[in-house]
């Protein structure tokens, strides 16, 4: 754990006094301290191109009165700096006359170990694996024109000091390993990308079999895409594979169920609580409690212990995801979903690991039932317009389905749908729920946070496929 006051002219006691004094008439708020260490090692074009180490230290001081949030952050943990921030908050909330809410739930459960993944493997070992990756991929296929592979490792220590001196802390490891392959054949170029990651050490994750699987998968996707033909354009049936395609759930309904958009009534879901928003058999949870997952959290960035929140149960909307601010204003409790990218940002209600649970059908049944449609196996990324409810995601591996059989691979295309209605179009839910490989980053209001997704195979009755073939 970091001792944030060790090299500062500011003692913990003095900081506590400034915090309590600043938050006196506020409804909520805290000092958030963060010390993160991260590394990135990149192999590209047959060479180790970059090795970068970052150490980031800073604080964010937040005061809340009613609906108003005042925030100030700085890199200098010093008396001067904290006082300046305090003055800043006080000047914004001159007329605050609330009562500080001291209540915050406690839990001793931890969902990852207190480790620093960067120091658990030497630079030379990591460089060796990257070089092995490069050689392995290039030796497997003569059409390989480019290989990019990288390691990202991070340890983030946070401490939350609330009014009255209550302190909550967490140490979060995070790793990611990515491989991108470009093939060129008969003048045509295509890429395949795959990666894995989670809140754990490189060692427990990167056994030789493991990194070879990642390489094989990237290579396989690139090879499939080399054979792809133009994607169809128009409305049709779509079968989604299990695992990572659950970013559909993340975009289509996840964001729309975040507390802030619903408090402000700008989400297409804000007046649908308790109503049927999805087909029977569709249950969606947002779960921060899965061991070592990329989206898991022991406590959120306000200090609330994480939980498994049921969002939609058997088609019916049950809960929104809440941070403390939106929960208070909506007369409910925080679901431990208050997150921020780092100390530079205010807390927002965010997703953790968003999962659609398994149903009864098989993927085979789904494909058999489709006369004309597409089978989407992997995606790049997605985006949603919360207000209109329209969302998109980009296929990176997909096939056409003709008369109940999987046909040729098709080129990357965007799929577009309507969030509030898409889940009513789900006509089959598979029995094969799978977690994604641990690579997701979700963006909201300029803040990126690590998230996970999971789903079984699903059949959607109609979606618009953005291909070029009419």
């Amino acid at each position: 754990m970091s001792n944030f006051f060790e090299k500062s002219d500011l003692s913990r006691g003095e900081a506590e006094n400034i915090i309590s004094e600043t938050l006196q008439k506020c409804d909520d708020g805290e000092l958030y301290l963060e010390n993160s260490k991260s590394e990135s090692i990149l192999l590209d074009d047959n060479k180790i191109k970059n090795s970068n180490y970052t150490s980031d230290l800073g604080f964010g001081f937040r005061a809340i009165s009613g609906e108003i949030v005042a925030y100030s952050h700085s890199n200098e943990i010093s008396k001067n700096s904290l006082k300046q921030s305090s003055d800043n908050l006080k000047s914004t909330l001159k007329s605050a006359k609330g009562t500080y809410n001291h209540a915050i739930p406690k839990s001793n459960k931890k969902y990852y170990e207190n480790i620093n993944p960067i120091e658990q493997k030497s630079l030379n070992e990591k460089i060796k694996i990257l070089n092995d990756v490069n050689e392995y991929i290039r030796s497997k296929n003569n059409d390989v024109k480019q290989v990019t592979a990288n390691f990202l490792g991070e340890q983030k220590s946070i401490e939350i000091i609330r009014s009255g001196g209550e302190t909550l802390s967490d140490v979060r490891p995070l790793i990611r390993f990515n491989v991108s392959v470009m093939l060129e054949k008969n003048g045509r170029k295509e890429t395949g990308v795959y990666g894995i990651g989670g809140r754990q050490s490189y060692d427990s994750y990167l056994k030789e079999d493991n990194w070879k699987n990642v390489c094989d998968e990237a290579l396989r996707i690139a090879s499939v895409n080399l054979e792809s033909k133009p994607a169809p354009a128009g409305e049709m049936k779509v079968v989604l594979g299990p695992g990572w395609p659950a970013i559909l759930i993340h975009e289509a309904v996840g964001h729309g169920l975040e507390g802030d958009f619903n408090r402000k009534k700008t989400s297409a879901f804000h007046n649908l609580m308790g109503q049927k928003v999805a087909s029977e058999g569709v249950t969606i949870v947002d779960d921060g409690t899965i061991d070592n997952r990329r989206g898991s959290l022991t406590i959120d960035d306000e200090g609330t212990p994480t939980e498994k929140t049921v969002l939609i149960e058997n088609g019916v909307l049950k809960n929104f995801m809440q941070d403390r601010l939106n929960a208070r204003l909506m007369n409910t409790r925080s679901t431990g979903s208050g997150r921020r990218e780092n100390y530079r940002h205010v807390v927002l209600p965010r997703m953790r690991n968003t999962m659609m649970l398994s149903g009864k059908q098989t993927q085979e049944e789904m494909i058999k039932s489709v006369d004309k449609g597409i089978f989407a196996v992997s995606f790049g990324g997605g985006q949603v317009d919360i207000t209109s409810g329209k969302f998109v995601f980009n296929c990176t591996e997909a096939y056409e389905i003709i008369n109940g059989k999987i046909g040729s691979p098709i080129k990357g295309a965007t799929l577009i749908g309507d969030g509030p209605s898409i889940l009513k179009e789900v006509s089959m839910v598979g029995n094969d729920m799978m977690l994604d490989p641990g690579i997701g980053t979700c963006g909201k209001a300029g803040q990126g946070v690590p998230v996970g997704v999971a789903q079984p195979s699903i059949l959607i009755n109609k979606m618009t496929v953005g291909g070029t073939k009419l």
Binding site: K7, D45, K47, I48, S51, N52, Y53, T54, S55, L57, G58, E67, I68, V69, A70, Y71, S72, N75, E76, S81, T92, L123, N124, I127, Q146, M182, E184, K189, E190, T191, A231, A233, G234, E235, K264, K265, T266, A268, R344, V346, G380, G382, V384, D385, T387, S388, K390, F391, V392, N394, K411, G412, A413, T414, I416, T464, G466, G467, T468, L470
Partner: protein, 438 residues
Amino acid sequence: MVKDQEFLEKKALYCLGLAKKLGATQSSVVVNNSVSETVNFRNKKLDESNRSDDLGINITTYIGKKKSSISSSNLLNDNLNTLMEKCVETTKNTPEDEFNSLPDKDLLAKTIKDLNLFDDTHVENDQKIDYLKKLEASASDDKRIINTESSFSENKSNFILANSDGFCNGYKTSSFTASSVTVAKDEKSMERDYEYTNKCFLKDLDDAEELGKLAATQTIRKLSPKKIGSEKISVIFDKRIAKGMLSTFASAISASAVSRGTSFLKDKINQNIFSKRINIIDKPDILKGLGSRYFDSEGVKTETLKLVDQGTLKHYLIDTYNGKKLNLKSNGRCGGTSNLYFDNGNISFKDLLNLNSKSIYITETIGHGSNIVTGDYSVGATGFLVEQGEFKYPINEITIAGNFKDMFKNITLANDLEFKYATNSPTMMIDGMVVAGK
């Protein structure tokens, strides 16, 4: 207040000295500080105030052809000592790369003329609040507007770039930004749109009432959208979307993408990639320009480049490392383009709408559908159906798709270029795109 040159320079030179002492043969350092203050309003009331003070240092050390870098936000000498040791140690253990080096000395920027990039004016929070009150009053004037969010932000930055070849320079920049996001509702739909203004100088900022009104108008006209059928059609891109085509073009001609072979524009130098009517310019020395700079992020001087001249690709965007790989000299584009724009076309906006009896006008795209390896493009979109030069009705839940190689050849530009962002395009029409809808 943003930290002065003297403070930043002292830190930079301290690190360069330390690097040398620890055995680095070359090194470069960037130290920056930015202070910004933002006030947000929602539904005519104060919602959030945010002050940020960011310090950062980025150090790259070389030992011969070995290189590695570190960055930190903790500028205490104690911490810098530890980090520098780690950096040099890592450099020793990183394999050599023959193309690693600082920029050629003769390419470094020497003379600097003032481009007017810093406005010292400080806007007190109360002034920001006044501006936002006016903005929100005008934005929420129409009953169909059910939610307004707006923001006013002031940002001041300063930096120093120094390297072991004696380069040591930096400058202050400022920006003032105001934005308005509105949500409108009718029986059938709820829609959101926005408008914003971003300027180097406070006095150049758009009028608050106009900004709010524009955001509201643009939102209301999106209400009750329809979905259209799938067809091949001419697509007109609003300026705020058209500029994205330039950004894709810029990533595809970066020396990095070209040298790695991962760009659909590799080996296209001196070839026609656009129609003859198209010129693309990157001009770093526009007074008060949002993308203006005195040198690139390695200290290399920057000059205006006509990247595309009458449809022909004339330059890649070259930095030192990738330049050496391609056997080309840096043209001062490490860190990308500066003020990038299409020259005006020769017809008016109105005439552009009238070029076809039916077309669609796109005001927003969603998704990350540009693939610079293959040139494939496919994104979600919202906009309007245009018939006989008139906006008929709003459309949504469609996608538009094509391949940049074809799209670039089929661009027609209006003559309504304005410098609102760092990258700017007039209104653009592309013929023969595929729209997928019903």
